[in-house]
Protein backbone atom coordinates (compact mmCIF):
# COMPACT_ATOMS: atom_id res chain seq x y z
CA UNK A 1 0.00 0.00 0.00
CA UNK A 2 2.76 2.38 1.00
CA UNK A 3 4.54 1.42 -2.19
CA UNK A 4 1.49 2.25 -4.32
CA UNK A 5 1.11 5.62 -2.64
CA UNK A 6 4.75 6.41 -3.37
CA UNK A 7 4.25 5.31 -6.96
CA UNK A 8 1.15 7.47 -7.38
CA UNK A 9 2.97 10.41 -5.84
CA UNK A 10 5.86 9.89 -8.24
CA UNK A 11 3.46 9.66 -11.15
CA UNK A 12 1.89 13.02 -10.32
CA UNK A 13 5.32 14.63 -9.86
CA UNK A 14 6.56 13.31 -13.21
CA UNK A 15 3.33 14.31 -14.90
CA UNK A 16 3.88 17.85 -13.68
CA UNK A 17 7.32 17.67 -15.25
CA UNK A 18 6.03 16.44 -18.58
CA UNK A 19 3.00 18.71 -18.76
CA UNK A 20 4.71 21.98 -19.78
CA UNK A 21 6.57 20.10 -22.52
CA UNK A 22 3.37 18.49 -23.76
CA UNK A 23 1.58 21.86 -23.76
CA UNK A 24 4.34 23.50 -25.80
CA UNK A 25 4.52 20.65 -28.31
CA UNK A 26 0.83 20.06 -28.84
CA UNK A 27 0.03 23.77 -28.65
CA UNK A 28 2.43 24.57 -31.48
CA UNK A 29 1.36 21.49 -33.39
CA UNK A 30 -2.31 22.49 -33.29
CA UNK A 31 -2.07 26.28 -33.54
CA UNK A 32 0.99 26.92 -35.68
CA UNK A 33 1.79 23.85 -37.72
CA UNK A 34 -1.87 22.83 -38.04
CA UNK A 35 -1.21 19.40 -39.39
CA UNK A 36 -2.12 16.14 -37.77
CA UNK A 37 0.73 14.24 -36.18
CA UNK A 38 1.66 11.11 -38.13
CA UNK A 39 1.20 7.87 -36.15
CA UNK A 40 -0.48 9.85 -33.39
CA UNK A 41 -1.47 6.77 -31.44
CA UNK A 42 2.06 5.42 -31.42
CA UNK A 43 3.47 8.78 -30.36
CA UNK A 44 1.00 9.07 -27.49
CA UNK A 45 1.88 5.56 -26.36
CA UNK A 46 5.52 6.59 -26.55
CA UNK A 47 4.84 9.52 -24.22
CA UNK A 48 2.99 7.21 -21.87
CA UNK A 49 5.91 4.77 -21.87
CA UNK A 50 8.35 7.58 -21.13
CA UNK A 51 6.15 8.63 -18.24
CA UNK A 52 5.80 5.12 -16.83
CA UNK A 53 9.49 4.50 -17.35
CA UNK A 54 10.55 7.61 -15.47
CA UNK A 55 8.16 6.91 -12.58
CA UNK A 56 9.43 3.35 -12.11
CA UNK A 57 13.01 4.45 -12.60
CA UNK A 58 12.84 7.22 -9.99
CA UNK A 59 10.93 5.04 -7.55
CA UNK A 60 13.54 2.31 -7.87
CA UNK A 61 16.37 4.80 -7.35
CA UNK A 62 14.67 6.26 -4.27
CA UNK A 63 14.11 2.81 -2.86
CA UNK A 64 17.43 1.15 -3.59
CA UNK A 65 20.33 3.20 -4.79
CA UNK A 66 19.98 6.61 -3.21
CA UNK A 67 19.71 5.58 0.45
CA UNK A 68 22.61 3.16 0.13
CA UNK A 69 24.71 5.54 -1.95
CA UNK A 70 24.16 8.39 0.48
CA UNK A 71 24.89 6.14 3.46
CA UNK A 72 28.12 5.02 1.84
CA UNK A 73 29.14 8.57 1.02
CA UNK A 74 28.62 9.46 4.68
CA UNK A 75 30.57 6.43 5.92
CA UNK A 76 33.48 6.95 3.56
CA UNK A 77 33.89 10.60 4.47
CA UNK A 78 33.51 9.96 8.21
CA UNK A 79 36.77 10.79 10.04
CA UNK A 80 36.36 7.58 12.05
CA UNK A 81 36.80 5.59 8.84
CA UNK A 82 39.52 7.74 7.33
CA UNK A 83 41.76 7.71 10.41
CA UNK A 84 40.92 4.14 11.39
CA UNK A 85 44.54 3.08 11.98
CA UNK A 86 45.47 6.17 14.00
CA UNK A 87 45.01 6.76 17.70
CA UNK A 88 43.92 10.37 17.31
CA UNK A 89 42.55 12.46 14.48
CA UNK A 90 45.39 14.70 13.28
CA UNK A 91 44.98 18.47 13.26
CA UNK A 92 46.13 18.99 9.73
CA UNK A 93 44.17 17.38 6.90
CA UNK A 94 46.34 15.43 4.52
CA UNK A 95 44.74 14.85 1.17
CA UNK A 96 46.58 11.52 0.84
CA UNK A 97 44.43 10.06 3.61
CA UNK A 98 41.32 10.26 1.46
CA UNK A 99 42.40 7.74 -1.16
CA UNK A 100 39.23 5.64 -0.87
CA UNK A 101 37.10 8.75 -1.35
CA UNK A 102 38.79 9.50 -4.68
CA UNK A 103 38.40 5.90 -5.83
CA UNK A 104 34.77 5.80 -4.77
CA UNK A 105 34.08 9.13 -6.48
CA UNK A 106 35.56 7.87 -9.73
CA UNK A 107 33.80 4.50 -9.57
CA UNK A 108 30.39 5.94 -8.73
CA UNK A 109 30.78 8.67 -11.35
CA UNK A 110 31.62 6.13 -14.02
CA UNK A 111 28.89 3.65 -13.20
CA UNK A 112 26.05 6.15 -12.75
CA UNK A 113 26.94 7.80 -16.05
CA UNK A 114 26.67 4.48 -17.86
CA UNK A 115 23.11 4.16 -16.52
CA UNK A 116 22.12 7.78 -17.27
CA UNK A 117 19.06 7.71 -19.58
CA UNK A 118 19.63 11.08 -21.27
CA UNK A 119 23.17 10.13 -22.26
CA UNK A 120 21.77 6.92 -23.73
CA UNK A 121 19.33 8.99 -25.80
CA UNK A 122 22.06 11.23 -27.20
CA UNK A 123 24.28 8.21 -27.91
CA UNK A 124 21.51 6.52 -29.92
CA UNK A 125 21.13 9.67 -32.03
CA UNK A 126 24.89 10.07 -32.46
CA UNK A 127 25.28 6.50 -33.70
CA UNK A 128 22.37 6.97 -36.10
CA UNK A 129 23.62 10.28 -37.49
CA UNK A 130 27.28 9.30 -37.75
CA UNK A 131 26.36 6.09 -39.57
CA UNK A 132 27.94 3.99 -36.84
CA UNK A 133 31.31 5.79 -36.75
CA UNK A 134 30.49 6.80 -33.18
CA UNK A 135 29.12 3.81 -31.35
CA UNK A 136 26.64 4.01 -28.50
CA UNK A 137 29.08 2.25 -26.20
CA UNK A 138 32.13 4.20 -27.31
CA UNK A 139 30.46 7.51 -26.53
CA UNK A 140 29.01 6.34 -23.24
CA UNK A 141 32.35 5.02 -22.02
CA UNK A 142 34.21 8.15 -23.14
CA UNK A 143 31.73 10.33 -21.25
CA UNK A 144 31.81 8.06 -18.19
CA UNK A 145 35.60 8.28 -18.02
CA UNK A 146 35.32 12.06 -18.13
CA UNK A 147 32.78 12.11 -15.31
CA UNK A 148 34.92 9.72 -13.24
CA UNK A 149 37.99 11.95 -13.54
CA UNK A 150 35.92 15.09 -12.97
CA UNK A 151 34.20 13.95 -9.78
CA UNK A 152 37.38 12.49 -8.38
CA UNK A 153 39.19 15.78 -8.95
CA UNK A 154 36.20 17.62 -7.51
CA UNK A 155 36.46 15.70 -4.22
CA UNK A 156 40.18 16.47 -4.17
CA UNK A 157 39.29 20.14 -4.49
CA UNK A 158 36.86 20.01 -1.58
CA UNK A 159 39.43 18.22 0.60
CA UNK A 160 42.26 20.63 -0.20
CA UNK A 161 39.95 23.65 -0.16
CA UNK A 162 41.42 25.13 -3.35
CA UNK A 163 39.23 27.63 -5.26
CA UNK A 164 36.76 26.11 -7.70
CA UNK A 165 37.20 28.65 -10.46
CA UNK A 166 40.90 27.86 -10.97
CA UNK A 167 40.00 24.30 -11.92
CA UNK A 168 37.10 25.31 -14.13
CA UNK A 169 39.11 27.96 -15.94
CA UNK A 170 42.01 25.55 -16.50
CA UNK A 171 39.47 23.05 -17.87
CA UNK A 172 38.08 25.68 -20.25
CA UNK A 173 41.58 26.42 -21.55
CA UNK A 174 42.07 22.71 -22.29
CA UNK A 175 38.68 22.56 -24.04
CA UNK A 176 39.50 25.59 -26.18
CA UNK A 177 42.89 24.19 -27.20
CA UNK A 178 41.36 20.79 -28.01
CA UNK A 179 38.66 22.45 -30.10
CA UNK A 180 41.31 23.60 -32.56
CA UNK A 181 42.79 20.12 -33.01
CA UNK A 182 39.83 17.76 -32.63
CA UNK A 183 37.95 16.45 -35.70
CA UNK A 184 35.22 18.93 -36.69
CA UNK A 185 32.50 16.30 -36.60
CA UNK A 186 32.85 15.59 -32.91
CA UNK A 187 32.93 19.14 -31.52
CA UNK A 188 29.21 19.84 -31.18
CA UNK A 189 28.58 16.38 -29.77
CA UNK A 190 31.42 16.77 -27.28
CA UNK A 191 30.04 20.11 -26.06
CA UNK A 192 26.63 18.47 -25.69
CA UNK A 193 27.95 15.57 -23.67
CA UNK A 194 28.87 17.97 -20.88
CA UNK A 195 25.23 18.79 -20.25
CA UNK A 196 23.70 15.35 -20.53
CA UNK A 197 25.82 13.55 -17.98
CA UNK A 198 24.32 15.13 -14.96
CA UNK A 199 20.69 14.30 -14.58
CA UNK A 200 18.58 11.76 -12.77
CA UNK A 201 21.09 9.24 -11.48
CA UNK A 202 24.31 11.13 -11.02
CA UNK A 203 23.25 14.38 -9.37
CA UNK A 204 21.72 13.07 -6.10
CA UNK A 205 24.58 10.66 -5.38
CA UNK A 206 27.27 13.17 -6.24
CA UNK A 207 25.59 15.91 -4.24
CA UNK A 208 25.49 13.58 -1.21
CA UNK A 209 29.21 12.92 -1.59
CA UNK A 210 30.00 16.63 -1.81
CA UNK A 211 27.87 17.53 1.19
CA UNK A 212 29.29 14.63 3.23
CA UNK A 213 32.84 15.78 2.55
CA UNK A 214 32.17 19.46 3.10
CA UNK A 215 30.45 18.86 6.43
CA UNK A 216 33.06 16.49 7.94
CA UNK A 217 36.24 18.34 6.98
CA UNK A 218 37.03 21.15 9.41
CA UNK A 219 37.05 24.57 7.81
CA UNK A 220 34.74 23.62 4.92
CA UNK A 221 31.21 24.89 4.78
CA UNK A 222 28.63 22.59 3.17
CA UNK A 223 26.87 25.62 1.75
CA UNK A 224 29.92 27.06 0.04
CA UNK A 225 32.11 24.03 -0.66
CA UNK A 226 29.44 21.38 -1.24
CA UNK A 227 28.69 22.88 -4.65
CA UNK A 228 30.90 22.47 -7.64
CA UNK A 229 31.04 18.70 -8.14
CA UNK A 230 28.34 18.89 -10.82
CA UNK A 231 30.36 21.57 -12.60
CA UNK A 232 33.32 19.18 -12.70
CA UNK A 233 31.08 16.38 -13.95
CA UNK A 234 29.86 18.53 -16.83
CA UNK A 235 33.25 19.90 -17.86
CA UNK A 236 35.47 16.82 -18.02
CA UNK A 237 33.32 14.75 -20.41
CA UNK A 238 33.84 17.48 -23.03
CA UNK A 239 37.57 16.90 -22.73
CA UNK A 240 37.32 13.11 -22.72
CA UNK A 241 34.94 12.91 -25.70
CA UNK A 242 37.22 15.13 -27.80
CA UNK A 243 40.19 13.05 -26.66
CA UNK A 244 38.35 9.90 -27.70
CA UNK A 245 37.79 11.31 -31.18
CA UNK A 246 41.39 12.50 -31.43
CA UNK A 247 42.72 9.10 -30.38
CA UNK A 248 40.58 7.23 -32.91
CA UNK A 249 41.67 9.65 -35.62
CA UNK A 250 45.35 9.13 -34.79
CA UNK A 251 44.91 5.39 -34.72
CA UNK A 252 43.26 5.45 -38.13
CA UNK A 253 46.03 7.61 -39.57
CA UNK A 254 48.65 5.30 -38.09
CA UNK A 255 47.01 2.29 -39.67
CA UNK A 256 46.74 4.01 -43.04
CA UNK A 257 50.41 4.95 -42.97
CA UNK A 258 51.31 1.38 -42.10
CA UNK A 259 49.25 0.04 -44.99
CA UNK A 260 50.83 2.44 -47.49
CA UNK A 261 54.30 1.59 -46.24
CA UNK A 262 53.64 -2.11 -46.67
CA UNK A 263 52.51 -1.46 -50.22
CA UNK A 264 55.71 0.40 -51.12
Amino acid sequence: MEFLVALAYGFVATLKDVLPIAIVIFGFQLLVIRKSIPHLKKVLFGFLYVLIGLVLFLQGLEQALFPLGKLMAAQLTDPAFIYKGLAAIPDVIRWQDYMWVYIFAAAIGFSTTIAEPSLYAVAIKAEEVSGGAISVWGLRIAVAIGVAIGISLGTFRIITGTPLHYYIMAGYVVVIIQTFYAPKLIIALAYDSGGVTTSTVTVPLVAALGLGLASTIPGRSPLLDGFGLIAFASLFPIISVMAYAQLSEWREKGQKQKVTKEHD
Binding site: L48, G53, L56, F57, D192
Partner: protein
Protein backbone atom coordinates in the same frame (compact mmCIF):
# COMPACT_ATOMS: atom_id res chain seq x y z
CA UNK B 1 2.34 -8.91 -29.61
CA UNK B 2 5.10 -11.48 -29.68
CA UNK B 3 7.40 -9.08 -31.51
CA UNK B 4 6.62 -6.30 -29.00
CA UNK B 5 7.49 -8.63 -26.17
CA UNK B 6 10.83 -9.64 -27.61
CA UNK B 7 11.71 -5.97 -28.22
CA UNK B 8 10.96 -5.23 -24.59
CA UNK B 9 12.97 -8.23 -23.44
CA UNK B 10 15.96 -7.00 -25.44
CA UNK B 11 15.75 -3.55 -23.84
CA UNK B 12 15.34 -5.13 -20.43
CA UNK B 13 18.54 -7.14 -20.78
CA UNK B 14 20.37 -4.00 -21.92
CA UNK B 15 19.17 -2.14 -18.84
CA UNK B 16 20.39 -4.99 -16.65
CA UNK B 17 23.82 -4.67 -18.20
CA UNK B 18 23.80 -0.89 -17.70
CA UNK B 19 23.06 -1.20 -14.03
CA UNK B 20 25.49 -4.03 -13.35
CA UNK B 21 28.39 -1.62 -12.86
CA UNK B 22 26.57 0.45 -10.22
CA UNK B 23 25.69 -2.68 -8.31
CA UNK B 24 29.28 -3.92 -8.54
CA UNK B 25 30.67 -0.61 -7.24
CA UNK B 26 28.25 -0.42 -4.34
CA UNK B 27 28.72 -4.04 -3.30
CA UNK B 28 32.50 -3.79 -3.46
CA UNK B 29 32.70 -0.65 -1.35
CA UNK B 30 30.10 -1.74 1.17
CA UNK B 31 31.37 -5.27 1.75
CA UNK B 32 35.13 -4.97 1.20
CA UNK B 33 36.17 -1.38 1.87
CA UNK B 34 33.69 -0.39 4.57
CA UNK B 35 33.13 -3.98 5.73
CA UNK B 36 29.47 -3.42 6.50
CA UNK B 37 26.52 -5.66 5.65
CA UNK B 38 24.09 -4.46 2.98
CA UNK B 39 20.94 -3.26 4.79
CA UNK B 40 17.49 -4.31 3.49
CA UNK B 41 18.86 -6.48 0.69
CA UNK B 42 15.37 -7.51 -0.40
CA UNK B 43 14.10 -3.98 -0.77
CA UNK B 44 17.20 -2.99 -2.68
CA UNK B 45 16.78 -5.88 -5.09
CA UNK B 46 13.18 -4.80 -5.68
CA UNK B 47 14.35 -1.25 -6.31
CA UNK B 48 16.94 -2.41 -8.81
CA UNK B 49 14.27 -4.35 -10.69
CA UNK B 50 12.11 -1.21 -10.81
CA UNK B 51 15.01 0.82 -12.18
CA UNK B 52 15.58 -1.78 -14.90
CA UNK B 53 11.91 -1.85 -15.83
CA UNK B 54 11.81 1.94 -15.83
CA UNK B 55 14.81 2.27 -18.15
CA UNK B 56 13.25 -0.29 -20.49
CA UNK B 57 9.99 1.63 -20.81
CA UNK B 58 11.82 4.93 -21.08
CA UNK B 59 14.04 3.88 -23.99
CA UNK B 60 11.12 2.25 -25.83
CA UNK B 61 9.05 5.41 -25.30
CA UNK B 62 11.88 7.56 -26.62
CA UNK B 63 11.92 5.71 -29.90
CA UNK B 64 8.13 5.65 -30.24
CA UNK B 65 7.28 9.14 -29.01
CA UNK B 66 9.94 11.72 -28.19
CA UNK B 67 12.35 11.17 -31.09
CA UNK B 68 9.67 11.05 -33.83
CA UNK B 69 7.79 14.08 -32.54
CA UNK B 70 10.95 16.15 -32.24
CA UNK B 71 11.88 15.28 -35.80
CA UNK B 72 8.42 15.74 -37.34
CA UNK B 73 8.16 19.16 -35.78
CA UNK B 74 11.60 20.09 -37.08
CA UNK B 75 10.58 19.03 -40.61
CA UNK B 76 7.25 20.81 -40.36
CA UNK B 77 8.88 24.07 -39.27
CA UNK B 78 11.53 23.78 -41.97
CA UNK B 79 8.80 23.30 -44.63
CA UNK B 80 6.72 26.13 -43.26
CA UNK B 81 9.75 28.39 -43.55
CA UNK B 82 8.69 30.81 -40.82
CA UNK B 83 11.74 31.69 -38.76
CA UNK B 84 9.66 33.64 -36.24
CA UNK B 85 7.48 30.71 -35.21
CA UNK B 86 10.42 28.35 -35.09
CA UNK B 87 12.36 30.66 -32.79
CA UNK B 88 9.31 31.22 -30.61
CA UNK B 89 8.87 27.46 -30.38
CA UNK B 90 12.54 27.06 -29.45
CA UNK B 91 12.23 29.63 -26.69
CA UNK B 92 9.03 28.11 -25.28
CA UNK B 93 10.52 24.64 -25.33
CA UNK B 94 13.59 25.76 -23.40
CA UNK B 95 11.64 27.88 -20.94
CA UNK B 96 8.80 25.40 -20.44
CA UNK B 97 11.00 22.40 -19.79
CA UNK B 98 13.23 24.23 -17.34
CA UNK B 99 10.84 26.25 -15.22
CA UNK B 100 9.24 23.15 -13.67
CA UNK B 101 12.46 21.15 -13.35
CA UNK B 102 12.67 19.77 -9.77
CA UNK B 103 16.48 19.80 -9.70
CA UNK B 104 16.43 23.50 -10.53
CA UNK B 105 13.86 24.27 -7.84
CA UNK B 106 16.07 22.49 -5.29
CA UNK B 107 19.19 24.37 -6.39
CA UNK B 108 17.35 27.71 -6.32
CA UNK B 109 16.27 27.11 -2.73
CA UNK B 110 19.78 26.17 -1.66
CA UNK B 111 21.09 29.27 -3.38
CA UNK B 112 18.59 31.39 -1.46
CA UNK B 113 19.79 29.98 1.85
CA UNK B 114 23.41 30.62 0.85
CA UNK B 115 22.50 34.21 0.05
CA UNK B 116 20.65 34.60 3.36
CA UNK B 117 23.58 33.22 5.39
CA UNK B 118 25.94 35.47 3.46
CA UNK B 119 23.82 38.49 4.37
CA UNK B 120 22.95 39.35 0.77
CA UNK B 121 19.21 39.16 1.46
CA UNK B 122 17.20 39.22 4.67
CA UNK B 123 16.90 35.93 6.55
CA UNK B 124 13.15 35.68 6.19
CA UNK B 125 11.10 33.12 4.30
CA UNK B 126 9.54 35.79 2.11
CA UNK B 127 12.89 37.22 1.04
CA UNK B 128 14.32 33.77 0.42
CA UNK B 129 11.30 32.66 -1.61
CA UNK B 130 11.37 35.69 -3.81
CA UNK B 131 15.13 35.25 -4.34
CA UNK B 132 14.64 31.56 -5.23
CA UNK B 133 11.79 32.30 -7.61
CA UNK B 134 13.72 35.08 -9.27
CA UNK B 135 16.63 32.73 -9.78
CA UNK B 136 14.37 30.01 -11.19
CA UNK B 137 12.84 32.32 -13.78
CA UNK B 138 16.27 33.72 -14.62
CA UNK B 139 17.56 30.23 -15.38
CA UNK B 140 14.42 29.28 -17.33
CA UNK B 141 14.68 32.41 -19.48
CA UNK B 142 18.36 31.73 -20.03
CA UNK B 143 17.62 28.20 -21.26
CA UNK B 144 14.86 29.47 -23.56
CA UNK B 145 17.32 32.01 -24.93
CA UNK B 146 19.96 29.28 -25.31
CA UNK B 147 17.72 27.01 -27.42
CA UNK B 148 16.68 30.03 -29.48
CA UNK B 149 20.30 30.97 -30.22
CA UNK B 150 21.15 27.32 -30.85
CA UNK B 151 18.35 26.97 -33.41
CA UNK B 152 19.37 30.23 -35.05
CA UNK B 153 22.90 28.84 -35.30
CA UNK B 154 21.62 25.74 -37.11
CA UNK B 155 19.62 27.93 -39.53
CA UNK B 156 22.58 30.20 -40.28
CA UNK B 157 25.25 27.52 -40.12
CA UNK B 158 27.48 29.45 -37.69
CA UNK B 159 30.40 27.36 -36.37
CA UNK B 160 29.58 26.29 -32.84
CA UNK B 161 33.01 26.76 -31.29
CA UNK B 162 33.07 30.55 -31.75
CA UNK B 163 29.83 30.86 -29.80
CA UNK B 164 30.81 28.42 -27.07
CA UNK B 165 34.31 29.82 -26.64
CA UNK B 166 32.96 33.36 -26.34
CA UNK B 167 30.48 32.02 -23.78
CA UNK B 168 33.38 30.54 -21.80
CA UNK B 169 35.24 33.83 -21.94
CA UNK B 170 32.12 35.57 -20.61
CA UNK B 171 31.93 33.01 -17.76
CA UNK B 172 35.58 33.53 -16.88
CA UNK B 173 35.31 37.30 -16.93
CA UNK B 174 32.15 37.29 -14.84
CA UNK B 175 33.73 34.93 -12.31
CA UNK B 176 36.24 37.62 -11.47
CA UNK B 177 33.56 40.19 -10.60
CA UNK B 178 30.65 38.06 -9.34
CA UNK B 179 30.14 37.67 -5.56
CA UNK B 180 32.04 34.61 -4.39
CA UNK B 181 29.11 32.74 -2.84
CA UNK B 182 27.17 32.64 -6.12
CA UNK B 183 29.99 31.13 -8.20
CA UNK B 184 29.62 27.49 -7.13
CA UNK B 185 25.86 27.62 -7.60
CA UNK B 186 26.19 29.30 -10.99
CA UNK B 187 28.61 26.65 -12.23
CA UNK B 188 26.35 23.86 -10.99
CA UNK B 189 23.19 25.38 -12.45
CA UNK B 190 24.55 24.69 -15.92
CA UNK B 191 24.42 20.99 -15.23
CA UNK B 192 20.99 20.72 -13.65
CA UNK B 193 18.90 22.41 -16.32
CA UNK B 194 18.88 19.62 -18.84
CA UNK B 195 16.40 17.01 -17.74
CA UNK B 196 15.85 13.50 -18.99
CA UNK B 197 12.89 14.49 -21.16
CA UNK B 198 14.37 17.70 -22.53
CA UNK B 199 17.57 16.13 -23.79
CA UNK B 200 16.09 13.59 -26.25
CA UNK B 201 13.50 16.07 -27.49
CA UNK B 202 15.96 18.89 -28.07
CA UNK B 203 18.49 16.54 -29.67
CA UNK B 204 15.86 15.20 -32.08
CA UNK B 205 14.81 18.76 -32.92
CA UNK B 206 18.37 19.84 -33.67
CA UNK B 207 19.24 16.80 -35.73
CA UNK B 208 15.91 17.01 -37.57
CA UNK B 209 16.43 20.68 -38.43
CA UNK B 210 19.99 20.13 -39.60
CA UNK B 211 18.96 17.24 -41.83
CA UNK B 212 16.06 19.11 -43.41
CA UNK B 213 17.96 22.30 -44.24
CA UNK B 214 20.09 22.17 -47.35
CA UNK B 215 23.80 22.52 -46.77
CA UNK B 216 23.71 21.54 -43.07
CA UNK B 217 25.36 18.41 -41.80
CA UNK B 218 23.36 16.78 -38.98
CA UNK B 219 26.57 15.68 -37.24
CA UNK B 220 28.28 19.10 -37.34
CA UNK B 221 25.20 21.30 -37.00
CA UNK B 222 22.55 19.11 -35.40
CA UNK B 223 24.15 18.72 -32.01
CA UNK B 224 25.05 21.59 -29.71
CA UNK B 225 21.66 22.75 -28.42
CA UNK B 226 22.28 21.13 -25.03
CA UNK B 227 25.70 22.77 -24.89
CA UNK B 228 24.05 26.19 -25.13
CA UNK B 229 21.46 25.21 -22.56
CA UNK B 230 24.18 24.34 -20.06
CA UNK B 231 26.30 27.41 -20.75
CA UNK B 232 23.86 30.34 -20.57
CA UNK B 233 22.54 29.57 -17.05
CA UNK B 234 26.05 30.10 -15.66
CA UNK B 235 26.20 33.57 -17.17
CA UNK B 236 22.65 34.52 -16.20
CA UNK B 237 22.96 33.22 -12.62
CA UNK B 238 26.17 35.17 -12.03
CA UNK B 239 24.47 38.27 -13.46
CA UNK B 240 21.55 37.62 -11.12
CA UNK B 241 23.94 37.37 -8.16
CA UNK B 242 25.57 40.65 -9.14
CA UNK B 243 22.29 42.59 -9.14
CA UNK B 244 21.84 42.05 -5.38
Amino acid sequence: MRAQFSIFLGYFLNSARDLASIIAVITFFQLIVLQQPIPNAGEILGGVLLVMLGLTFFIRGLEMGLFPIGETMAYAFARKGSVFWLLLFAFCLGFGTTVAEPALIAVAQEAASVAAVGGVIAQTDAAMNSYANGLRYTVAISVGFAILVGVLRILKGWPIHYLIVSGYIAVVLMTTIAPEEIIGIAYDSGGVTTSTITVPLVTALGVGLASSIKGRNPMVDGFGLIAFASLTPMIFVMAYGMTF
